[in-house]
């Protein structure tokens, strides 16, 4: 059967019109997002933080899964772009009572939203919504199942670039539950696309996907080996329900073998930076001394998250406008 795949993230001019995954975006596009975000960081440092780029537009935060940080930073980003913001926390148990995702979407479209920011427990949900929305409405993925969390990955890339410079020279390790992590998938894709020098994942075999052929990555089972000479350490959150799946015996054993502590962080380069997408589990994947220590950039990540989301929202809105204009 012929391959009919087209990249629905780009409009006919090759501009971003949806932001669903890092997959399918080239290095220039990722760099443009980072450069745009850099310029918005300066806006955030002013006393008047708003710019009028999305004045008159409505951004709907459509969250089928609970979230605090991602949703609030999207809300702040939209408000700083002068958009009207609608926050909808949709209890998934309510939708499972009968209304399909498609019906929910049709209802919200009728309210005239210009951008949907979507978080959903099913992989591919944002992709599905982008295929179904009316033309000129943009969809931004705020996390779908295990698939992708591309705005998180971009804020991580921005953090790395601002604090450690260009990617070619860097060794980067991602530690923890790679198997279930949409953040890890998006980070790996972004790091590969941006040409990172060496990318490693560090985890027990039970928390690694069965097949990582899609990524250029080195696999380590031992923290001491995996962190050696590393410039950037990215810790992932360990979900408590993983213990139920017989994947690891206990939090204690995980902390002993993969926890980032003052001792284990020393395996990395002395000036290595430590990152975490949050929320952190102190004493499970990371010690307080490291999370709050001088190498940690965990709080910087949060503020960069606003700038990155401003960049992505404004680029998608402009990509949709361009598409609309070219059709007339």
């Amino acid at each position: 059967m012929e391959n009919e795949q087209k990249n629905i993230q780009l409009n006919s001019h090759g501009q971003l019109c949806h932001f669903l995954s890092i997959d399918g975006l080239d290095r220039e596009m990722l760099t443009e997002i980072l450069d745009t975000a850099d310029s918005f960081i300066k806006v955030g440092e002013r006393s008047v933080k708003n710019v009028p780029l999305l004045r008159g537009r409505t951004v709907t935060n459509l969250f089928f899964e609970p979230s605090t940080r991602t949703r609030t930073t999207f809300e702040l980003a939209a408000k700083r772009l002068s958009a009207d913001v609608l926050n909808l926390d949709i209890n998934t148990s309510a939708t499972s009572k009968g209304e399909s995702l498609l019906d929910t979407l049709r209802n919200l479209e009728a309210m005239g939203s210009d951008l949907f920011v979507v978080r959903h427990a099913d992989s591919g949900a944002a992709h599905f919504i982008a295929e179904q929305v009316t033309p000129n409405v943009a969809v931004v993925n705020a996390g779908d199942g295990r698939h992708a969390h591309p705005t998180q990955a971009m804020l991580d890339m921005l953090t790395i670039r601002r604090h450690r410079g260009e990617f070619e020279n860097l060794r980067i390790a991602i530690v923890g539950d790679i198997l279930h992590s949409r953040v890890a998938r998006s980070q790996l894709t972004a790091l590969n696309m941006l040409g990172a020098g060496e990318v490693r994942v560090i985890a027990p075999g039970t928390l690694l996907p069965s097949n990582l052929d899609a990524f250029d990555v080195k696999i380590h089972n031992r923290l001491s080996e995996g962190l050696k000479d590393v410039d950037v350490v990215i810790m992932l959150r360990l979900q408590r329900e993983r213990m139920k799946g017989a994947l690891i015996p206990s939090e204690r054993e995980f902390y002993q073998t993969y926890g980032l502590t003052s001792e284990t962080v020393a395996y990395a380069k002395p000036d290595a930076i430590v990152m975490h997408p949050g929320p952190i589990n102190r004493g499970v994947e990371i010690a307080s001394s490291v999370a709050d220590g001088s190498q940690s950039l965990i709080l910087n990540q949060v503020s960069y998250g606003i700038a990155v989301r401003m960049a992505i929202l404004s680029m998608c809105a402009s990509g949709q406008t361009r598409t609309a204009g070219s059709q007339e």
Binding site: L101, S123, D213
Partner: protein, 431 residues
């Protein structure tokens, strides 16, 4: 001569069992083939069909069709699916027991048989439930189901409460000399998966079904089959290792056969790129190596039957994020055209592939009188292997539009279908 008479002229007869692959005329009287080549003395045809440039072959016998009745009428009806069957050249189909109620009593078998008789289209054989309610706890009333006409019993991909229940179900089936269809899955290893576990599932973030969920269950069940001696058909294999396990068991003399769905021979996990729910299937499409091994199994006979694994679903069932969609392809009408694609790709012979669609499955369910030989039942399909057709809803009979070829062009088209010498389908000239 009494009864109706039919003459099919100028066709290319394709019947592997009779050793027939020749241009010859076919003479049918009273539902049976009475002569090949020259007309018998005094033969007067009531009806004459010109099959120039087409295959004249035994009607397809499909071992895996999910009928929407009883219980799932929003997906279609027995009428609609039998119309789809004959439009696809299928003259006998075996329906799966996962109706509502489940086919675990003679009453449900009778209900389906009555509706099928009223439809007067393709023949329907029921596959009964191996356990009551398909719940995997108590063996079904196998004697009663067999008496009612079930050709085999199965639990589909549903779990058994324990290997003890599976063992006893197989032993009880052996007692009643009933054929068992197994589609073994270790559900603890499947664990909510919706596609093959591999590079693509990892990248798309979809929970995968590892190959070992199938192979470990097949390996276990083969030991139980050996223990009980029950005649077993492994339906819808999906992996290379499964083919190896079955091949080895056959070499050891175990009474096992195997089948595969046509889409497993043509597509791989790559088809789900972009979260294409049309290819959400159970068992899932796996790798190119698996596909190659399944084709090899079809060629060497390890796999004796190719089925459509027809599963019509409602339109909304495929409109959701991938994992939330229903699995299945409404495949009866595309079975033969897809089989022709296979021929072109692998330079298989037409009789070899026709065998796996007709005599192979017939032998598995003990269906007699199949073939293009004198005395055979006149269940015949006339198929134009070169005609091109656009698959479209206007010429679609199944209640489920869930076919990945919808709107696309396929080569190969059923021209006419006969059941018991009676024309039950004829394609429209411009269809």
């Amino acid at each position: 001569m009494s009864g109706s008479s039919l003459k099919i002229i100028n066709g290319w007869l394709v019947d592997p069992k009779g050793g027939t692959e020749q241009a010859a005329d076919l003479f049918i009287h009273d539902g049976q083939i009475i002569a090949i080549g020259a007309a018998p003395d005094g033969f007067v045809a009531d009806q004459e069909v010109d099959a120039a440039g087409m295959w004249v072959m035994p009607g397809v016998v499909d071992l895996a069709v999910r009928l929407p009745e009883p219980g799932y009428e929003s997906r279609g009806s027995i009428d609609s699916e039998l119309a789809a069957a004959v439009a696809g050249g299928v003259t006998t189909l075996c329906c799966t027991p996962d109706s509502r109620p489940v086919i675990d009593s003679a009453a449900v078998v009778k209900l389906i048989a009555e509706k099928a008789n009223q439809a007067a289209s393709a023949r329907v054989k029921c596959i009964g439930a191996l356990t009551q309610g398909l719940e995997g706890i108590y063996p079904s009333e196998m004697h009663a189901l067999k008496q009612a006409g079930c050709v085999a019993l199965t639990n589909l991909r549903r779990p058994f409460a324990s290997n003890r229940v599976l063992l006893h179900s197989l032993a009880y089936a052996a007692t009643h000399q009933t054929k068992v269809f197994l589609s073994p899955v270790d559900h603890s290893l499947e664990d909510g998966g919706c596609c093959h576990e591999g590079a693509i599932s990892v990248r798309l973030g979809l929970a995968g079904i590892p190959e070992i969920a199938e192979t470990s269950a097949i390996a276990t069940s083969l030991l139980l089959v050996e223990e009980t001696g029950v005649q077993t058909h492994y339906s819808q294999l999906s992996s290379a290792h499964s083919v190896e396990l079955i091949r080895h068991a056959q070499q050891q003399g175990l009474p096992v056969t195997a089948g595969v769905a046509i889409h497993q021979l043509l597509f791989t996990e790559a088809s789900i790129e972009g979260y294409n729910s049309a290819f959400h299937l159970q068992p899932p499409l796996r790798t190119e190596d698996d596909r190659a091994a399944l084709i090899e199994g079809v060629i060497d006979g390890t796999i004796g039957a190719i089925c459509s694994d027809h599963q019509p679903v409602s339109a909304s069932a495929k409109m959701a994020p991938f994992a939330a969609t229903e699995s299945g392809i409404s495949g009866l009408q595309t079975l033969l055209p897809l089989a022709v694609q296979l021929l072109q790709e692998y330079s298989l012979s037409a009789p070899a592939i026709v065998e796996r669609l007709t005599h192979g499955p017939s032998a598995i369910i003990g269906l007699e009188g199949v073939g293009l030989t004198v005395g055979s039942t006149a269940d015949i399909t006339i198929f134009d292997p070169n005609a091109r057709q656009t698959v479209n809803p206007d010429h679609w009979f199944s209640g489920g539009l869930n076919n990945p070829y919808m709107g696309k062009i396929l080569t190969g088209k059923v021209a006419a279908t006969f059941v018991g010498g009676r024309k039950v389908y004829e394609s429209e000239p411009d269809a």
